[in-house]
Symmetry: C2
Subunit: 343 residues, 2 copies
């Protein structure tokens, strides 16, 4: 087990301050990131280039002083290496030009081979670990089965998720078959990330909020739980962080074998503390747009630090940092968290 403030906090141990990192901290708000991205060509080329991906992963550790690095990659490299075409259209987000329409489409997708083809991610992790300071942790990650399956069926982002939901209510067995295959790949993928050096892992279920309660537990959470239980069983020393976004109405029924529950900004931290705080360490959840103003950062950090005083907590935003946030404000946030939570 890695001995850092971040990992200690993931396991609920007392630390001398509350560790902090930012979702999407290796990203477009950093001029240093933009320079490397230009060198790489496009977004996907950067994901596939271990040297450059490692470089941008390490940038926020140096620039902001965060307590953990998070692997630079994208959740959609998994469906890509399962055999799906993937395009990143500038200004429009990711696109699968040939989404899954039939069982034939699903049958063509590979499992073991996908996990092998993702070797550029494992190489990136190894390079990061060579350079990461010993007092910092590296977080690996993947998308949750539900979020990945949704992309693979919708083909792109969606406001209504009507394709995947049509499947859910008219042919649930087929949707389960897709989720099963994705989950099988993710087990191998996350194992390989851990073996390559990831000190902790986060599973992002960005589209959890697309589902009503009953469907969420059947089609999203059950696979999240299966994946985390599998990893916990084999690698108990590696903390698992889950981040099902936008499900504040369903917290009563959340359970499973993981260490940290990531709270998004739309879920009041008081509510998460009441429902989950005794069972899990909480991570989050400052409103990302507070980073537009130092006054709003002050108020947000003090509020959260107050709610989580004497509780098990990792500071973070409640969603990814936005591209037009001033770097100075991101630095201010990190420094303020360290200062205010010093014990």
């Amino acid at each position: 087990m890695k001995d850092t403030v971040f990992i200690d906090a993931c396991f609920g141990k007392k630390t001398s301050y509350t560790p902090v990192w930012l979702m999407r901290q290796a990203g477009r708000y950093l001029p240093e990131y933009m320079k490397v991205r230009e060198r790489a060509g496009d977004f996907l080329s950067l994901c596939k280039n271990p040297a450059l991906a490692a470089e941008v992963t390490l940038q926020p550790v140096d620039i902001l002083g965060v307590d953990a690095a998070i692997l630079f990659s994208d959740i959609l490299v998994v469906p890509l290496e399962m055999g799906m075409q993937l395009k990143f259209v500038a200004g429009e987000g990711p696109l699968f030009p040939r989404p899954i329409l039939s069982r034939g489409d699903l049958d063509k997708l590979v499992v073991e081979e996908a996990a092998e083809k993702l070797s550029y991610v494992y190489d990136t992790i190894k390079l990061i670990k060579e350079k990461l300071p010993s007092d910092k942790a590296l977080i690996g990650f993947c998308g949750a089965p539900w979020t990945l399956a949704t992309y693979m069926i919708e083909g792109s982002g969606s406001k209504t998720y009507s394709k995947v939901k049509k499947l859910l209510y008219t042919d649930p067995a087929f949707l389960h078959a897709i989720l099963r295959k994705v989950t099988d790949v993710l087990k191998l993928y996350m194992e390989a990330q851990i073996k390559s050096g990831a000190d902790a892992v986060q599973i992002f279920d960005s589209w959890a909020s697309a589902l009503e309660e009953e469907a969420f537990f059947e089609f999203s959470w059950s696979y999240m739980k299966e994946l985390s239980a599998y990893l916990k069983g084999k690698y108990p020393h590696v903390p698992i962080i889950v981040f099902p976004k936008g499900i504040s109405g369903y917290l009563d029924k959340i359970d499973g074998e993981f260490d940290v529950f990531g709270v998004d900004w739309s879920t009041p931290l008081e509510l998460a503390k009441e429902k989950l705080g005794s069972r899990y360490v909480l991570q989050g959840n400052m409103e990302p747009t507070r980073l537009y103003s130092q006054k709003a950062i002050d108020e947000g950090v003090r509020h959260i630090a107050g709610v989580m005083e004497n509780e098990r907590h990792i500071f973070n935003l409640g969603h990814g940092i936005l591209p037009d946030v001033p770097v100075a404000n991101a630095k201010y946030f990190i420094a303020l968290v360290h200062e205010i939570t010093k014990r």
Copy 2:
């Protein structure tokens, strides 16, 4: 006060069955609607044509057998008549090409004159009331101040709401000034709808979920409460339905002078019942994509009817009906609700 099953249910009186209507029931899933829309030209021309708008308003009453008609219009006619340019771009949604950027932009917008220019809406209501069967109610509506202000500042739909949130955290006084002006127009607008014959009104806060808890109560809910208290004070016999979408984490702090709380599908009805059911009639909340399958409708209706047995309830979807839903399934839903809830 209009004596219908729907209005009785809004006031929590016992009715012989649970009334039901659908958000966006006068819409693209109906071939009859598409024909009228073609005759009108474009969407905005349909909104501004009282004869045709009245015709599409009445269609679902005849075709589906819903217990209430809802005025056919759009929430954005309000900023339009306040003086903002508005375009509906096919396939892309509404667009304000010149969003509010400065106090000068806000100063140019009108209040009393806007309420007067919206006379085509009042004319539509009068025409609907001439033809609406006496056992059905007519629901008027508007967008909540927060949702309208967000459109006026963002200029279009948004995934991150970063413009309006930047304003919120850096110049809250300016955002309050915008919300104040919009609220003033809405008071006059909703009064005129009621005087023209609306039997009940619903206030849609479609983008309530864009805000963290503290900001929601300051920038959204306070104006919703002001508007509903104003209308309740003058027209106590007209039920008010509020629909702040996606705020299941904030239900503990909901209060105000209104009659019905519209529950979106992401908020478990059990949770809404626990937090609000003793104080308000609840409306909702079947997952709209359940309408893709009659089996899913069966399960959804039976679940909701079970949760709301002996409670004060109006059946509805938890968001608008989607354009690709089979009309037969919408009919099936309405008939099933009437059958199952018969007392």
